[in-house]
């Protein structure tokens, strides 16, 4: 997104050097296309088709079921909360990682990848160990002051924040690295304090990184299953989220209901990604 003054001169030669697409290139495109259709597009489309297998009955069925509606609401509440938390901390940690030198920086960097590499169900178990109301390491203390974490909404938010933690950071860090800190220094020398510099210069520069990170986090948060299943307790009408509804309905042979709920989850995530990719090119040159 940033044009490098030095790279500008090299751009025309790079365009000239690109060879015309030969048969090998077309074959490669075909392979990629078939692969993506078989693995992603076709299965997702089938979910949609199955959701409408009985017309609109299944969709209407789940929207009329107060427990499912509650589950959808809970999912959205949890996802939005988790995204807000992850965005604020994500931007903060990104700035810390890129702009400052401190001991333990590499360790922090490695730690941030754990949520992506550890299975969500392990995350769930780990959280129960710390915040569990009975045997937890920290949980009983919290419960004594009237704050229940595990088997309640805070636990679900916590688990969701954990699994989606690195997504904003991994989008924002490369952008911060690429733009460098000269613009910020220029703003400081023109009289802007730290907050003004962040609001007027840093934030607009990393805007698209943040937006992409938010969309990815949102999609991830809506769809989280494993960690949430462990910490929520899966209580109908209380702590059962949309993904848990899908599983429950599927196991109880209510396939129509399962597909309809799954479709709703998919649509929200896909819609977010489409909206971003539609508005993004307009903003860029």
């Amino acid at each position: 997104m940033a044009e490098h003054s030095t790279a500008e001169a090299e751009r025309p030669t790079a365009v000239q050097a690109r060879p015309r697409p030969g048969p090998a290139k077309y074959l490669l495109r075909l392979v990629v296309l078939v692969y993506l259709v078989l693995l992603v597009a076709w299965p997702v489309a089938l979910v949609g088709r199955n959701a409408f297998a009985n017309g609109l009955t299944d969709l209407r069925g789940i929207l009329d079921d107060p427990d499912v509606v509650h589950a959808l609401r809970l999912t959205i509440t949890v996802a939005v909360t988790a995204v807000v938390i992850n965005t604020v901390f994500g931007v903060g940690i990104s700035l810390l990682l890129v702009r400052y030198e401190f001991p333990g920086k590499r360790l922090l960097n490695a730690l941030l990848d754990i949520p992506l590499s550890v299975s969500p169900i392990v995350v769930g178990l780990a959280l129960v160990l710390v915040y569990g109301g009975r045997g937890g390491w920290f949980g009983p203390t919290l419960e004594n002051v009237g704050f229940q974490v595990i088997f309640a909404t805070p636990g679900i938010v916590l688990a969701t924040v954990f699994v989606a933690l690195p997504l904003v950071i991994r989008e924002v860090v490369p952008v911060l690295q690429e733009v460098g800190d000269e613009q910020e220094q220029a703003a400081r020398s023109l009289g802007a304090n730290a907050i003004q510099t962040f609001r007027r210069i840093t934030l607009p520069t990393i805007k698209w990184g943040v937006v992409y990170g938010v969309v990815l986090s949102l999609a991830r948060s809506l769809g989280e299953f494993g960690a949430v299943k462990v910490v929520s307790g899966n209580v109908l009408g209380q702590t059962r989220t949309a993904t848990l509804v899908v599983e429950e309905k599927y196991l109880n042979f209510d396939k129509g209901g399962a597909y309809a709920t799954a479709l709703l989850l998919t649509l929200v995530a896909v819609a977010a990604i489409i909206v971003v990719s539609v508005i993004r090119p307009k903003e860029q040159r």
Partner: protein, 335 residues
Amino acid sequence: MSIEIANVTKRFGEFVALDDVSVSIPSGQLTALLGPSGGGKSTLLRIIAGLEQADSGRVQIEGLDATNLPPQRRNVGFVFQHYAAFKHLSVRRNVAFGLEIRRRPKAEIRSRVDDLLALVHLEQFADRLPSQLSGGQRQRMALARALAVQPTVLLLDEPFGALDAKVRKELRDWLRRLHDEVHVTTVFVTHDQEEALEVADEIVVINDGRIEQIGSPDELYDRPANDFVMRFLGPVTQLGDRLVRPHDVQILPADGHEPGATTGRITRITRVGFEIRIEITADDQVIAATLTRNEFLALHLQLDTTVRVRIAPEIQAGTVAVDSGPNLPATTAVT
């Protein structure tokens, strides 16, 4: 004196960027910090701006002790080598930035920005984004942006380093004229001795974290304090045990009797435009000399001609003894 730097030292890890540097930079003038890359000149500029903190020493700007002030309270304008344009803001908003931060009335901002855009000849580009400007235009925008806040001092860090040779020459010229109009105390960093000699009122030569010499362009060129300054400010050649500029080498016919001349043979003649570069091989050294075309033709020189060379007698200064290292006391020699 406008900027007083006293005993400033700055280390980056093991590397000593500035070693106990003290210098006074005069008000209202254009001062160049000249030196090779990594010599500490940019670090000194950034310490004046507050973008870098000195490990020890003090910085005073117009009588105000700025040593511990953050950059936004020093009222300095800073221009970066790579422009540091705010990419998401139009040219007008870029220039207006400092005024908007200071919450000036809209009408005042508007008229001041218009004046500045006219000053840097960018009126018709006011609504473009920086990415739609050429490098030279971007740097002029950055200058207008720095001047907008009416800084006490204007600091430029290799301002023309990223531009091509032709634009660089134009902007250099333009900066000199701009300074004659605006008169703000200006300090710029460069490693290009021609740029410094052409633009600056005063030059501070910095090398290895130390100041080698301070003076006007003429003083530095004619009376270099040591071997380093002599070599850095222009071409040099060695004649006997003295360093001399090639254009101060006088070529004489072989049959003369002038005192102090060395006999040698012409081994190379290169013509670059109006200038003729000649290499003369004497006993154990190769001496370079430059002549104008007319001088060259008048002397009837050819390859393998035997000639006598000496340092032109009218050059009273401008040569130094070869062995005076950059860190030794200056031994300005008179021939």
